[in-house]
Amino acid sequence: MKSGFDLKSSTILLLSLLASTWGCSGSRSQQSTAQQAAEEKPSAAQAYQGKLEPDDGQWIRPAKDFASTRYSTLDQINSSNVKDLKPAFTFSTGQDRGHEAAPIVVNNTMYIITPWPNELYALDLTKPGAPIKWEYQPKPTPAAKGVACCDLVNRGVVYDNGKIFLNTLDVQTVAVDANTGRELWKVRLGDINKGESMTMAPLVVKGKVLVGNSGGEFGVRGWLTALDENTGKIAWRAYATGPDKDVLIGSRFKPFYAQDRGQDLGVKSWPPDAWQIGGGTVWGWISYDPETNLIFYGTANPGPWNAEERPGDNKWTSGIFARDADTGEAVWFYQWSPHDLFDYDGVNENILLDLPINGQTRKVLVHPDRNGYVYVLDRTNGEVLSASPFAYITTSTGVDLKTGLLQYVSEKKPITGSVVRNICPASPGAKDWTPSAFSPRTGLIYIPHNNLCQDEEDVSANYIAGTPYVGANVRMYPGPGGHGGEFTAWDPIHGKAAWVIKDRFPVWSGALATAGDVVFFGTMDGWFNAVDAHNGQQLWKFKAGSGVIGQPVSYKGPDGKQYVAVLSGVGGWSGAIVAGGLDSRDPTIALGFGNATRELPHYTTKGGMLYVFSLP
């Protein structure tokens, strides 16, 4: 999921992560963020030979381009002068939940959406200090707060054709006039009473707004829906479980591997009827390849969380679909984690590149998964070309490239009533939703991620509303090295890290790569960092008012200068960590977990703030 949680997205939950992470990491004085020197290895990668979308200096969708590179061609800010970067203006969002969104810049206006209650601000970049141009309040129902698995986050809005599109936590998609803030249409796409919510950023492809649901804990069935951008009318909806007709599987469906072929596997790979509550929500990222007219997106974890109750591969959860962008028809599918045992989801970003693999240029997508592998897939047919570990993994030994199957380690399989230790990666995965960036100048992918393991121990009595049961107490802790997070520069061709920056905490922000060979990312304790794209050397840092878990972007202002913008505001982290701990039907629990950030007083406090930087 959970939640996010995703809790969740998600879904087991672990309160103790916060405590144990800090507890295990030593004193504050030794801390810090990216200032720990990167391991100095020269970059083994090479400049990218493929083509990227032209960059007009705007930033109209969170992932920057359809290929999801998060790469800006602006180069005024470079590795020599970035040390002089200064705040140009700031803006308080007035909200104190986790700020995971990317600021969007178009027509000299910046658009930012807050976490719950999902207020949308347009800031006028042509005026000093970028004052508010207009604001739009969707006023989502407060009841939605209770069903969000992984804090009340929102991962951003998208611009297309004079409109801004946003999703609200209470499962509505809204179109707003980009100039005036006037609401153009608003559609309710799901039922919060069933535990559904919406946190992902929409993507607009050829006049269709693509959105998916969150809440893959208990009782939710995942879907991706395409809406007409002018009317909000549903063009098609593709479920992640159930009969082929619901999943939009038809004659064009040609999965690469045998285990994904057959009729109605979305029904047959489950106990009877279990697919109806099987999860597989779509709360992550969507990429689009104009050449093949395919969209690519991952599906989240299966439900219920207890894997013993859903024997089978649980298709089509924790995998990736390629679909026709116009009709939604499935073209291929690959399952990262069949019969997902650890809430690994499958919704992380897919970066579309053309890479030389074994002497041949292949159209690929690169996907760093929760399960700990960076996958390189042929995006035309779903073949796994490589799957290389980028984190410490004990739950599997690798991916069989012949069968495409993840090789699980059977001793790590959770069994009710038994103790399993040293499960790595932990449930939030080797990497959660935090999107990577790609620089064509270095050929490297910059991956913000986790270094977490968990024990399922202390199998002890628990109870809910008077009914006792035995629950495994899941305890998370930093993996090898004792640090909770890493920022890794990854060579996708050779399947290995070029350099790694360690951080005390999971690195929970997005990454931004620029043509100035500067890469930006934030840390949970509030540092916003600029590092050298080639070697990871720290070049600049800024201490924000709260932890940085947002997605940095870069744009050209009306004055012709390059700007870098990011939201600070910690919170989604705690939500994500405790993902599965939330009862999606209990409105009081989310509040309780929101308060988990109170345990961060020595590092950071809550509060959303936009920071925009430029050279003097």
Binding site: W305, T416, G417, V459, A465, G466
Partner: protein, 269 residues
Amino acid sequence: MCSLFRRCLLAIVLMLVAGSALGQTQQLRICADPDNLPFSNRRQQGFENRIAELLAQDMHARLTYVWQRMGRGFIREYLGKSQCDLLVGIPATYAQVSATRPYYRSTYVFVSRRNARARPANLNDPELHSMRVGVQVLDDDYAPPAHALARRGMQRNVVGFETTGEAAPSIIRAVVNRRVDTAVVWGPLAGYFAKRYPGMLTLTPVQPEVDPPGLPFTYAIAMGVRKGNTQLRDRLQQFLDRHPKQIHTILHAYGVPQMEDRVTSAGGH
């Protein structure tokens, strides 16, 4: 002498308690679920409400309730943050609280129609494979009997039911209405709602008592206080030690199957 001693002790305890947890007015702040019969509800009709009243009398304390649904995170946010002082019923081995010794012990039971063709008592009963079995839904998962059934290949047989608030009686009603062939339900819930169908149902403790490797179906229930609040815990223990019969009577009146009773049937008796 004895009674004087006891009174002095009581006074000391109350002073200690007043200085620490209960505040100057000697109130007893109990965390309870506002809509969760037979345990408690806002109208104070549950057996935990009865026991709390008995306790308040015994301690000469004023009873106040902090009403809060008992979902996950609840102990940490309420008991842990001193918004209340005690819980009337928690598993005795629950690690997040300081618990008294258990004052009753109950079990998950099979609830079957008295005239049903098959009335299973054991999870290994082969008849179960052809039956629809109601189980409780707890948060985002099923109650433990579902895990045991799943492990025996009976995922297909399981039907989940919410068992709090208005929905609570539905799992028992489903047995009566033949929507399921049997249900596996935590004893206090089963016993209480089965009383609505006198003579129609049998309640049979689930066997085995512990499903290997470590999934128990019987649980001992105690009172719980914030960790470290041993004065209050000890005071509660005195109360429990003094009134076992009254407590037993309350539990019996609500139809709570108690392991000492060797309960094998209920429903209207």
